[in-house]
Symmetry: C2
Subunit: 901 residues, 2 copies
């Protein structure tokens, strides 16, 4: 028979801290503390599997589970020597949810379960404390009505407030037993009136309803939304903890509180906490009364005159200190502990690894290592890589007042505020005049680069997490919210709205690129800050990681930033961004309009010095590190002028008619540019373009070499679908390179390789590998083609897909291991077999995403490449992957596949 | 040591007819005839491998090959008792190319090789025939200078004509030895003048040059083009046949001729041929003299008064008759035989399976079976499936004069002529008035269906073999030339040009959809004709094929045509084409503009009766056969109005502003519609659309069932990328179906399945198969995504790709077995393993292409589906595949993969 219920008590404990998936975090830790011999009120945990079973059986708790619950309940009765529902000495329970990760939105807690008109009297009698008993009863009705029966929270709350007003008192503690008894009567009549049902008086009925309510709350809209945001699986389910009540509200020798073993906002080694005398747990959270500091160090402006726990119950405080030390040593991490004191006796209700800021996390990790409590390996595994974002980008001041206007995709982290403008030119102009601007566009295109660079942040109405705006913004380390579907832009009027109010050019707006939230007006931000522990910690990651971390950078500036963050080379230098500067774009357009190869070459020759200069700068910034340069990738029509003005300018400059410009534009128009005349297809049809680029790279490398720079250029040919493309283009490239070597009388080592970004390239990677020195997986495009999904168009329906759980995560954010990953793994396997010297990396946006990096590690890639501001995140993720999946473990299993979670 | 040279003679023959790949067709058959004891002048064949080696070694014939050639040459000398280059009794050679398939454009023949100023005298002396010797010499210089030295053909030819004019004669036979001797002198001086080199007099030099010229001709532009057109591999290489000369030009007892064992244009069992007295082989081909009939039955208007071979050399003729019968019986096929008679002795120079019209081929195949010469299996293997096109579509009259204007892709076979129009409305209007029109468009869209149906044929400037125009035209059996890149259209002026002359609306044009060629004016056409043998032959194919042949049809009319061609069901019924009729499109647009689900449902309810009616018609036409209906696939913006007028009409009808229409169009615009919001993504986001369609299908099925029609509906959900999409949509479909069953109080069997058209679907086919009753491979889209190649945009560079041999064939025409095929095979394998009842077919355009059908057979698909007019082709291809790859052979090898050629 399957075990659905796990008990915990000083006598018998069936769980432990490692059983979080089955018992939830709370249940696992209650079991662990029980085993440690700490004073935990006895109880039992109904497993997450029981929750799954509940949904399978159409939301019913089956007989077997009920049986196991009743058996566990009996055992608690025996231990406590009381009976649930007993009319002389009733046992009461708390019922609390607990999934494997804490999840706001789920049902939290019902205390004092088991009280009714009879048991309340027994409780009063037994404890000789009528006020306590009725206080507990009214609390129970309040909580149960709200979280189990679904009655609006404020309805009963108001009654309490009204009563206090009527009595002329401020604090609950000033009310007496009679008052509470009255309240109970009023509460019950409101429940009857509002819900059309009597408040359930049978303790067993109360229990079943409460357990069901916890299970149901797993699928609360808020919990669902939270799971989606964090990529948690909706199949996990929640556990339910049923635990004997202890009372912090039995009088002045009773209390309830929360403490942290270190300071959660700085990580400093300070024992820190708050408590309330004569109260129950939820009073601390609800903020009805101001809690007191547990010790001197916990004092602040608002509580500095209150008595500390240390003062009023020194022995209990000492016990608490001993307990926190024991727990921290046991869990080897900073703890967040909930406790209740019943008649000076300390009970522990929860412990967990404390939430903390990333600065605190770094300090705690570094301190724990120097205290000898954990190893560096353990320290490196402690921080979620994405959290480093907090260190690298400005944040909104958490204390500022905010009016949320709308939400979009959190495309590039960081807070940005400024005046809205609707085109790139205005953005640059205003920025030049010292204004802070937010660039608002339907979507961005390569033409907008200048405006994006000038803006504080970018906001778009269309496009997904790997849209142009998102990718470029991340590259620049610039905040961006993309695909805000509520955003309607009118370029003509220079206005925008999120449905109702209109915003004009120059109006202020602030957004948070880490959450996707957009706020009215200008909100203060906190600048990025890197603690002194950051360097120590990051140095540890480099010890453990197997993957190299490169960066995607197109300019010397970006290259320098990335290098300062620890990048070990450039994994993707896109050459096309270089084409958009005003002095270059004309030559590009001249090239596009050329009618003969001779004219095309003439135009390309004008571009050559620019490209060469860019490359020299990048080579210098990356002295001694490899620089992977991708030859031209986008279709030529991306470089054509869009506005009437630009077209006129071009016509004048090329001395051709506007008609000719329009015809050329028409001719170059493509129905599906993503699947069109781009990448190596340009190189095949216009070999002179790639020849010019190859020449620029090699000439630049030789120039840098002259200046004693160590240059390691890698020439990358994009969008290969067949090995013959690479064979031909490689041959042509080598011919050009040999010519340059001859002309300049000098040589240099270089590599030629390809992007693997089409399914067919992955499928035939063995043949391609014979002509390639490296593979770089372009997982953006590979995801697009494997899914048949345009990243620029998916914004309209992808949110529906993730909300219906059809796609667990946005595949442009987290690499799809099953489909896209199959192709990557296949290509690495057959590619390295065909060419053992093949060097493999990834340069898609996934190269900076921790889950995807773990996958890259497991399938045996040699490096990942990501935008400069994600390099630290990638370093940490790579180190964690290596610690989780050491080479030995992988070899032992023979296949990386079998090794996947 | 590798054998590079294979000898043939009455004494020693090293090849046979099955060695075509190594010896070429000509060499293999020369060897075969030698072995049969027929009088074949001795000689040797230099293998195709030697040709490949020649290219490998930078166009040199290596020493080993030369050694083997000289050894073989010596043997011929011994047999003929003459010596090559000998000054008393010289041996002469013919040198001819011969690849595995006959290939126009390659170097053909050099006769009389070995002659020079000395050997010509010896030949004259030895044969006592000075005229013959000098005639042979001048012929040799003429041929050698042209085909080996590359001198323009007409230069020497003119000298011959001038001489005849000077002598006042008409025929070469009227010239004497002296005349030819003079010609030789003139020829040699022209060679020296034009080429700056003396005509080579050393026989060995002549031989090496001739062999090299044959090898070089393999890469002639014309030969290359021919290979591309026919998909032949450029790596094959050509063999060279070097053979002792026999002479048809030694006098009146000599002759040369060609005969066919049956009539190549009708297939009738008539021995048939032409000959020339006192001539060499090329005279027959060159048409310098009118050849005479070999027998009474070969007489026609132009030669009826000439003497037959039967009359002038009855014994030799009898020998020829005996020989042809022997050859036909041996080869079990109609032969095309070249012979030379030297002093009444018959020599055979070539035999091969005769080229024939498809009608002749059918008759020959059926006759050979009834004559007991071949089995039905052999008969079915004799006809190339594509050739059946000749039977099914009108052709250009081969005798008509034609002025070629341009070429495009041969998108849909058949000849079409008429007046050009530039839009669908005009096409329909003019056609209504009895005019024959050609619809000329940049590209077509679903809106053009009406005009396409009204036109004789469709001509487009853009798009590839699977563009909208091509696919729809093939479906309609309507001729189409697509992607004619030279075509410039000006819609405003209603004019077009191919670079120079302008053509206006109403001008006449004719094109051949089978070749892609476009001609000026109206050219007479010959109607499609099906011989009586067609039915007999096609019935045999059905005996052997394992694959079912279904059709892609969207209307009852198409369904009926396809069924008459032998279709065994519908493999793809596209529902969206049904939406474009004027009375329906408004409801579709209303649905698109609906702001709420309620409004959307209201609009959909207007469409329901139309869809239901269509389905009833199709079910009736396909009584007893399965009908696979695909739910809505294209993105909604395809249904929006494009012209200002249509937009105004819509605005009026929906009572909304033009602004709102434009905004909606903008909102629905997609950057890459092929990768956008389409297919099942529509079903996921607007479930009511699929619900309506499913309801229409099932209601129609139940209505048809009432009329005693046997209905087998299959509901196909397109563009699945993840099994969860199918799971959800299937559940919703079943709910709707159960509702219809309940409402109408009747039930029906049905299937629900999916298209596999995205790489991810193929990769995860095992999971998808658990929710699908069938897979239909949409290889058009699968090719697009696997290659990252838009079929609508590829037209601009795909021709360059195939011409540079980067892609051996257009992957939209012939299924790419290596890449796309990998995914198909993978999906079938894991899909059938996960669900053994899974039924698999293909509905992409490849389903009608013979090579691809063979692949489908081999990987174990259950059916292919193609446009109605390709059904016979598919039936034949499927039968051939089954005969080539019987189940036993496939089982024996265990894996279909190993079994591939």
């Amino acid at each position: 028979m399957q075990q659905w219920v796990y008990r915990f008590s000083s006598e018998l404990t069936e769980g432990n801290k490692d059983m979080k998936n089955l018992l939830g975090g709370k249940g696992a830790n209650l079991a662990e503390m029980s085993s440690l011999g700490l004073a935990v009120p006895p109880g039992f945990t109904i497993s997450t599997e029981a929750c799954t079973q509940y949904y399978k059986e159409n939301k019913t708790i089956n007989e077997e589970i009920k049986k196991q619950i009743l058996a566990a309940l009996n055992q608690v009765e025996k231990l406590q020597k009381k009976k649930f529902g007993d009319k002389t000495d009733p046992l009461l329970f708390s019922v609390r949810s607990g999934s494997r990760v804490s999840m706001p939105g789920m049902m939290d807690t019902v205390l004092n379960l088991g009280l009714n008109d009879e048991t309340v009297k027994a409780l009063a009698e037994k404890t000789k404390n009528e006020r306590f008993a009725w206080d507990s009863y009214r609390r129970f009705i309040q909580m149960f009505s709200n979280v189990v029966l679904g009655l609006g929270h404020s309805l009963l709350e108001h009654q309490l407030d009204d009563l206090k007003t009527a009595r002329g008192v401020k604090e609950d503690t000033e009310l007496n037993a009679k008052d509470f008894q009255e309240l109970v009567t009023v509460y019950k009549s409101i429940v009857l009136e509002e819900l059309g049902r009597k408040f359930p008086s049978d303790p067993m009925e109360q229990l079943w309803l409460a357990i069901g309510a916890v299970f149901n709350s797993w699928h609360n809209p808020r919990a669902q939304m939270y799971r989606e945001m964090h990529g948690y699986d909706s199949s996990w389910g929640t556990a339910v903890n049923v635990q004997a009540m202890v009372f912090g509200n039995m009088g002045e020798t009773c209390a309830t509180g929360v403490c942290f073993t270190r300071d959660p906002s700085t990580g400093a080694k300070i024992f820190f906490g708050e408590y309330l005398v004569n109260a129950q747990g939820e009073d601390v959270v609800a903020g009805i009364r101001t809690p007191a500091p547990i010790n001197e160090k916990s004092k602040n402006e608002s509580n500095k005159n209150m008595k500390t726990l240390e003062e009023i119950m020194p022995e209990t405080y000492e016990e608490l200190v001993a307990t926190y030390k024991k727990l921290e040593a046991h869990y080897k991490d900073m703890q967040d502990i909930e406790f209740t004191i019943e008649n000076k006796k300390l009970y522990l209700l929860q412990t967990r690894n404390a939430k903390r800021t990333v600065n605190a996390a770094l300090k705690v990790a570094v301190d724990l290592v120097s205290e000898g409590m954990i190893t560096k390996e353990q320290a490196v595994l402690k921080i979620y890589p994405e959290d480093l974002n907090q260190l690298l980008h400005p944040r909104l001041d958490p204390k500022a007042k905010k009016t949320l206007l709308a939400s979009g995709l959190p495309a590039s982290p960081g807070a940005a505020g400024g005046q809205i403008v609707f085109n790139s030119e205005t953005a640059q102009e205003w920025a030049k005049n010292g204004k802070k601007v937010i660039l608002v566009r339907q979507e961005t295109s390569p033409e907008d680069i200048g405006g994006m660079a000038a803006a504080q942040g970018i906001l778009t109405a269309r496009g997904g997490m790997t849209s142009h705006a998102a990718v470029v913004a991340r590259g620049m380390g610039k905040p961006c919210v993309a695909g805000c579907s509520a955003l309607m832009i009118n370029y003509n009027d220079k206005t925008m709205s999120f449905g109702k109010d209109k915003y004009r050019e120059g109006d202020y707006l602030t957004f948070d690129g880490a959450t996707g939230e957009i706020y009215e007006g200008l909100i203060p931000t906190i600048e990025a800050q890197m603690s002194e522990d950051f360097a120590t910690y990051m140095a540890w990651t480099d010890k453990f990681k197997r993957l190299d971390i490169r960066t995607n950078a197109d300019t010397p500036e970006d290259s320098k930033i990335a290098r300062s963050f620890g990048a070990q080379g450039i994994g993707l230098c896109r050459t096309e961004h270089m084409f958009f500067a005003p002095e270059r774009i004309l030559a590009v357009r001249e090239m596009i309009f050329a009618k003969t190869q001779v004219d095309r070459k003439k135009a390309l020759n004008k571009l050559l010095p620019f490209q060469r200069e860019d490359f020299v700068g990048i080579f210098k910034a990356m002295n001694g590190l490899p620089v992977n340069i991708r030859l031209l990738d986008p279709p030529l029509h991306e470089f054509l002028p869009h506005t009437e003005n630009d077209m006129k300018e071009l016509a004048a400059s090329l001395q051709i008619s506007m008609n000719e410009i329009r015809e050329r534009k028409d001719f170059l128009h493509e129905f599906n540019p993503m699947l069109g005349h781009r990448g190596c297809r340009l190189g095949i049809t216009f070999s002179e373009i790639y020849q010019m680029q190859v020449r620029a790279i090699i000439e630049a490398a030789l120039m840098a070499k002259k200046d004693k720079v160590v240059v390691l250029p890698e020439i990358m040919i994009p969008l290969i679908s067949d090995h013959k493309e690479l064979e031909l283009l490689k041959k042509e490239a080598i011919e050009e390179i040999e010519m340059v070597f001859k002309e300049l009388g000098n040589k240099i080592e270089y590599q030629i390789g390809t992007m693997i970004e089409l399914p067919r390239a992955a499928i035939t990677a063995d043949k391609i590998a014979k002509h390639a020195e490296f593979f770089s997986f372009g997982t953006n495009d590979l995801t697009q083609t494997t899914y048949g999904l345009s990243r620029d168009d998916a914004g309209k329906f992808l949110p529906i897909y993730t909300s219906k759980n059809i796609y667990a995560r946005d595949p442009f954010v987290v690499l799809d291991q099953e489909g896209v990953g199959f192709l990557v793994e296949h290509a690495v396997k057959i590619g390295k077999k065909a060419n053992p010297d093949l060097h493999c990396g990834i340069c898609g946006e996934h190269g900076g995403e921790p889950n995807s990096i773990e996958f890259c590690h497991k399938v045996g890639l040699d490096y990942v490449s990501c935008s400069p501001f994600r390099v630290p995140i990638a370093r940490l993720a790579a180190a964690q992957a290596a610690l989780k999946w050491p080479a030995t473990a992988m070899e032992k299993h023979g296949s990386v596949k079998e090794n996947r979670i």
